[in-house]
């Protein structure tokens, strides 16, 4: 089955992301990364 390619829209600040998560009844995924940006 083909899966549509998606780009992850990473945010850079946790606190606003948690507010958004509360509003959307989602979780936050917090990635501590050293990968090239």
């Amino acid at each position: 089955m083909a899966v549509e390619r998606r780009e992850i829209r990473w945010q850079k600040r946790l606190e606003p992301a948690l507010e958004e998560a509360r509003a959307q009844k989602r979780h936050a995924l917090l990635d501590f990364s050293a990968a090239p940006m």
Partner: protein, 149 residues
């Protein structure tokens, strides 16, 4: 990072994703790394909307293993908030779609517990113990489930 479209889709559908880069956001990394005890990259945390950690993935994983860990975290979070049906659904998805990952036996164990918590029917645990006699026999989860069978 995360080139597999299944990973991107799972993240987009379930999370508000936040990336803190160790060098480019050094101050944030120091502050949040201290708060959550992250001392290595990649460290990936599943947080509920109040910021409580529900699951942790440390180090690189191939896509299938990573997806299974994400589902495990979503299952744990659902279990913690008492949504046992959703927790079981997440755990069963791991067992069905990613059975050979490290998350597989843990998910099978907790799927049984979640069903028991949802139904109060002890046969859910007996059936889980029976399942462990067919698969994952050498794991610690099989030992834990052995008291039910």
């Amino acid at each position: 990072m995360y080139p597999d479209p299944r990973v991107a889709q799972l993240i987009e559908q379930n999370f508000i994703p936040v990336r803190i880069h160790v060098k480019e956001q050094a101050d944030d990394f120091k502050r949040l790394g201290a708060k959550y005890g992250a001392q290595w990259t990649p460290t990936i945390l599943i947080l509920d909307s109040s910021g409580e950690e529900r699951h942790r993935i440390e180090g690189f994983l191939p896509a299938g293993d990573f997806i299974a860990q994400i589902l495990l975290g979503l299952g744990k979070s659902a279990f913690t908030r008492g949504d046992f049906a959703d927790a079981e659904r997440r755990y069963r998805e791991i067992v069905d779609k990613y059975p050979s990952t490290d998350a597989g036996p843990e998910a099978l164990y907790w799927a049984g517990v979640a069903r028991y918590k949802a139904t109060n029917d002890p046969s859910a645990l007996v059936q889980t113990a029976a399942s462990f006699k067919q698969r994952y026999q050498e794991t610690s989860w099989a030992k834990k489930a052995s008291v039910w069978g």
